[in-house]
Symmetry: C2
Subunit: 332 residues, 2 copies
C-alpha cells in the first residue's frame, strides 16, 4: 500500500474516517473526498489530502478524478438511512446509484484504477415478486448491479464489498452508537441532577444481526483492494449473530447511572419466549423485520477467503463506542 | 377510453405518433409530451394537447403532472439505440432510468393514475455473471426494476409492456425502415441518373426476430391500460420469428430500381447453410447476437391473455413502410 495513490469517498463519514486513518498509517498517499464544495479545515491526519466534491455533479467528479489520478478507489460515499429513504427515495437513487456511476464513468479514463464499492447486505432479489423492502434496499441493489455491469461492459476492475452492521467509535447512527449515546446522556443528566432523557426504544430484543468492528472492516477493504478478484462480491462479517437484547445488556453494564429502556409492546411475550433455551432461538428474527438480510441470489465470496480475519473483540468495540461519547466528541 | 385524460410521453417518436393518433381517435383526452422546451407547431391531430417537457428535469416533470393531472399514462419516452448507448452510457441511465423515476415520483401525487411503461425484450438477467450485453440493455433492465419497485413500494398502479421489434410507417430506425429507406433512395438515384447509394449492409441474414406492427402494439397498450394487472409485465409480439434475409427479400420485391445489398462476410457460409430445410433453422440465431432476446427470469404475461391479437398483415406493414418513404416524409 506504501506510496499508492488511494482515493476514499465518503471520507467524512463513520467508516470513511477510520479508512483514511488506517490507509494513511499504512503509507498510502490518501486523497480524502468529503461532501460539499466549501473549503473547510481538514479533519484528517497530516499528509492526507482533503478534497471537497459533490459526487452528484458529474463534471465535478470527472475533474476531480483527472486531478487526483488515483490508482485505487475506495467508494464509501452514499446515503444509508432506511427512514430517510422513504422520505426522499429519489435522493437515494441519485446518491447511491447515479453518483456511483459518475465516479465509475470518470474512472474509465483511468483503466488501471481498481475500484472497491461498499454495498449493503440489505439488498433484495430483483426477480422477487415482493420487490424491495424499502427505497434504501432498492438503491443499494441497483448500485451493485450498475457497478458490476460497468465492470463487465467496460472491462473496469470493479470489486464489491458487503459489510454487515459496522460498529465502533465515531459518528455512526447504528443501534450500538444510539444506545451508547443514550447511556452517556443519562449519566450526564444524573450527574447534573437533571431529568433523565426519554426512554430508549428497543422493540425487537430478539432480532439478530451480525456486528463487525469498523476497523476490522477497513482492514478487509485493504485485503480486497490488494488481492480481491475483479467482478466479485465480498461479504465481510464477524460470522456471529447477536441479539439486540444481549448487546443492550452488555452496553448497559457500562452505565454509571440508571438508564431507561422501553422494551416495546412485544416485550412481555418475548420475555416469555426467553424461558426457552437460547439454542431454540431461530437464526433469523421471527418477525418480518424491515431491514432483515436477504440470502444472496448467487454465491458470494467471503473476505475470509483472502486471508482476512476479524480481530477486534466485541467487548472492545462496545467499550470504545461508550468511550467515544464519554469523551464528548458527539451527541451531547 | 372516451373522455379519459391520457398522457403520452415520447409522443414525437415512432410509436408515440401512432399512439397519439389512435387514442385521440378513440376519444381519449390526449396530452402529447414532446422533448425540449421550445414551443413548436403541433404535429398531432386537432384536439390533442401538445406539451414540451424535458423529462430529465425533475421539477419540470412535477409541474407538468400537476397541470395535466392524467388518469392514464403511457410512458414511451426513452433512448433506444444500442450503438449510441455505447458512446454515452450515462445518457441512457439518465434518460431511461432516472427520467422514468421522475415521472413515477411526480405521479405519486396522483395515486389513481395507471402507468404503463414501455420496456424492452433486450433486458438481461441481473443474476447472470456475464452482465448486460450493452448499456442499452442495462438501462432498460433497470428501468423495469425501478418501475416495478416503485409500484410495490408506493402502491402505484404500474404496468410494464415488453414489445418485440416494432415496424410500420413513421420515423423508425429499425431494420425494416432502414432497408426501405435504402430502396427508395436507390429508386430516386436511378430516376435522376445519379450513382446508386452505398450498399446496405446485411451481415446476419439468418438472424431471427419477432416483428410486430406498431399499430398493433398501440392497440395492445390500450388493452393493458384498460384491463392489465398492476405490477405485471406484458409481452407483446406477433408470435412469429422471421429471418432478416427473408424480410429483405420481401422488401426488395417492392423496388422499382436495382438495389445494392452487402450480404456481409458470413454470406457464403450462410448461403451453404441455406441448403438445409427451413424447418431445421434453430429458433434462436446461432451466433451470439448483440441484441438477442434473453429468456424471462420469471413468468411474464402475454398481452394475448387480455384478449388482444395482432391484426396487421406483415405484407401490409412492409408496404406501408415503403409507402411512407416514397411519400417523401423522411430520409431524402
Amino acid at each position: 500500500m506504501k506510496g499508492r495513490r488511494l482515493l476514499i469517498t465518503g471520507a467524512g463519514g463513520f467508516t470513511g474516517r477510520h479508512a483514511v486513518e488506517y490507509f494513511a498509517a499504512e503509507g498510502a498517499e490518501v486523497t480524502a473526498v468529503v461532501r460539499g464544495t466549501a473549503a473547510e479545515a481538514s479533519i484528517f491526519p497530516a499528509g492526507v489530502q482533503q478534497v471537497a466534491c459533490d459526487l452528484g455533479d458529474r463534471k465535478a467528479v470527472s475533474r476531480m478524478i483527472e486531478t487526483v489520478r488515483p490508482e485505487l478507489v475506495l467508494h464509501l460515499a452514499g446515503k444509508n438511512s432506511v427512514p430517510e429513504s422513504w422520505r426522499d427515495p429519489l435522493l437515494y437513487m441519485e446518491t447511491n446509484v447515479m453518483a456511483t456511476l459518475y465516479l465509475l464513468e470518470a474512472l474509465r479514463a483511468r483503466p488501471a484504477s481498481r475500484i472497491l464499492v461498499a454495498g449493503s447486505r440489505l439488498k433484495y432479489r430483483p426477480d422477487s415478486a415482493a420487490g424491495p423492502p424499502h427505497p434504501y434496499s432498492l438503491s443499494k441493489t441497483l448500485e451493485e448491479l450498475v457497478s458490476l455491469a460497468w465492470g463487465t461492459l467496460f472491462k473496469q476492475p470493479v470489486l464489491m464489498a458487503e459489510p454487515s452492521n459496522l460498529i465502533g467509535p465515531g459518528p455512526s447512527t447504528g443501534f450500538c452508537s444510539l444506545l451508547a449515546q443514550h447511556i452517556v446522556r443519562s449519566e450526564a443528566a444524573a450527574a447534573a441532577g437533571e431529568p433523565a432523557p426519554a426512554a430508549f426504544r428497543l422493540s425487537s430484543r430478539h432480532a439478530q444481526r451480525d456486528f463487525l468492528d469498523v476497523r476490522d472492516a477497513v482492514r478487509a477493504y485493504r485485503y480486497i483492494l490488494d488481492s480481491g478478484e475483479t467482478g466479485k462480491i465480498y461479504r465481510i462479517g464477524s460470522g456471529t449473530q447477536r441479539e439486540l437484547g444481549e448487546i443492550a445488556g452488555k452496553l448497559l453494564a457500562h452505565a454509571a447511572a440508571p438508564v431507561e429502556i422501553d422494551w416495546g409492546p412485544q416485550a412481555e411475550q418475548e420475555r416469555q419466549a426467553e424461558s426457552s433455551p437460547a439454542s431454540a432461538v431461530p437464526e433469523k428474527p421471527p418477525s418480518a423485520s424491515a431491514d432483515k438480510e436477504v440470502p444472496p441470489a448467487e454465491p458470494e465470496d467471503d473476505a475470509a477467503a483472502l486471508g482476512w480475519r476479524p480481530e477486534t473483540l466485541f467487548a472492545r468495540s462496545l467499550a470504545d463506542i461508550i468511550g467515544y461519547y464519554r469523551a464528548g466528541k458527539e451527541g451531547r
